[in-house]
Amino acid sequence: MAATETLRVVENHARTYRRVWRGSIISTFLNPILYLAAMGVSLGVLVDQGSGRQALDGFDYLTFLAPGLLAASAMQTGAGDAAWPVMAGIKWRRTYEAVLATPVAVRDLVTGHLLWVTIRLLMMTTIFSFVMVLFGATGVAEAVRAIIPAIVTGLAFGASVTAFSATTRDHTGLTSLFRFGIMPMFLFSGTFFPVTQLPGWMQPIAYATPLWHGVELTRARALSFDPMLPTWLHFSYLGLWIVVGSLLAARQLRKRMVI
């Protein structure tokens, strides 16, 4: 019963997406191309000539960077799709109000939304992996192995940011989240350099961020080394963000919409 309602929510997301897919796909390609060209290739040459290789466990910079950037981009997609579109549904366009006047319930709406975010993450990470291979950052097998941990990373943000969007009153909350949460994580959670390079007091903070776990896991899976913690622990930590985030998202959205 509720499963069919959830699927209809997904279907209608897809139907709406059909109208913008061209632009969306182009930027999904462009994003890794620009980053890998600028950071991976150009900056990478300098890193590889310097003392970089030892710090990066013998990987060249492009290879080190690519899977980390994949996880970090998944974070951005997950968080982005859970921020403005959710606020629009609640408040700016009030489309959630319209949906909830049909047999669809809040739980179906949230589950459908997160399933859709998962589909978007699958598209995005697949394209990213393809670009990784094109750049010669990794082989095909490595790139494919990186997809699942990256999706899990993105979903940890998709779920928790949905809960945040359902709680915060307006767009200033979202802007702050990205400015003081997502952006610093992007820069300091191991995407561009190992967390061990950070000042000592910052390291525990970095280790607590879901992005670090995502980056570590994605990189380790892709490049076949043992992550810092056992693989299952990294997955569990991200899983916790997904589960708690989803439950909170449903709870907060119910509080907001069912009044």
Partner: protein, 309 residues
């Protein structure tokens, strides 16, 4: 069909924090009738509608819709009703016809079943020509018509219309009244909120006058007028300098006198005779207008306030 009411409320209450928006109201809506909530801003009309629509939990009393409890059987109730919210909530970024398609899919209809229905509804809303346009490019009135069309996509037994004609031009309003009348003849039950008297008088078999969360009176439009007002009303305007002692000077002229900031209303069964008397008393008004009593007068009588201004 059995004679049990389609919607039944006993002591129905809605609170927002400390504030009581709907204060223990009782009403019944019977199958096939057009039922109205008439009241000024903040009366609690939309809050009541949202409870009936099974999207807003009740905070007291009992409510049943189709004999079901909105709390436990919300989805089943929502599948059988159509909702026109006070504020349009269309998906502005997608075309007109896809708005209808997407909405229909939420009710679980197949695309094959939906497309012919969408054709009909586009014609109904006179939006066939605009079907491929994005909603954001429509005028306010067109959006309203689309919202109403969308509410009909699931062929509802009960249609909830929260101020359906706000933003429509007079022609579109009359067209909509006609369409609603036709729906009613097909057996659809209508619940309408409005602060337009003529709308309530035209559309509603029965209505309740709501004010500050309470029901002030209930009846048919004609019945309410007979009960709370006189046959006719004389609207008289006086120049400013004559306003001071106007109350005493009008005494005994009519069954009831209502002094508003801009005019005086004299409730009488014979407007012409009263008008004649006003002149006989040498009152020299700026203008005199005799008209039939309306729900506006009922409202004024019941709440001491004017509904529109």
């Amino acid at each position: 069909m059995d004679g049990s009411p389609l919607v039944e409320a006993r002591g129905l209450t809605k609170r927002f924090g400390e504030f009581t928006a709907v204060d223990a109201v009782d009403f019944e809506v019977r199958r096939g009738e057009a039922f109205g909530f008439l009241g000024p801003n903040g009366a609690g009309k939309s809050s009541t509608m949202r409870m009936i629509g099974a999207v807003s939990p009740i905070n007291g009393g009992d409510l049943s819709v189709f004999g079901m409890d909105p709390e436990s059987e919300g989805a089943t109730i929502r599948a059988r009703i159509g909702v026109v919210p006070q504020q349009d909530n269309l998906d502005e970024e997608i075309p007109v016809d896809e708005n209808l398609l997407i909405y229909g899919r939420y009710f679980g209809f197949s695309r094959a079943a939906l497309w012919p229905r969408i054709e009909e509804l586009l014609a109904f809303a006179e939006l066939t020509e605009r079907r491929h346009d994005k909603v954001e490019s429509l005028s306010g009135g067109m959006k309203r018509r689309l919202t109403i069309a969308r509410a009909l996509i699931n062929q509802p037994e009960l249609l909830l219309l929260d101020e359906p004609t706000t933003g429509l031009d007079p022609q579109a309003r009359h067209l909509l009244w006609d369409r609603l009348y036709r729906l009613k003849q097909q057996g659809v039950t209508l619940i309408i909120t409005t602060h337009f008297m003529d709308e309530a008088e035209q559309l509603c078999d029965r209505l309740v006058v709501m004010d500050k969360g309470k029901i002030a009176a209930e009846g048919s439009p004609r019945g309410l007028i007979d009960q709370y007002s006189t046959k006719e009303v004389l609207e008289v305007r006086f120049p400013d300098e004559a306003k001071a002692d106007i109350a005493e000077r009008l005494e005994g002229l009519a069954k009831r006198v209502e002094i508003l900031p801009d005019r005086v209303l004299l409730y009488t069964d014979d407007g012409d005779a009263t008008s004649h008397e006003v002149w006989t008393r040498g009152l020299e008004p700026e203008s005199v207008l005799a008209r039939r009593s309306s729900l506006e007068d009922v409202f004024l009588r019941l709440t001491g306030r004017s509904l529109i201004d």
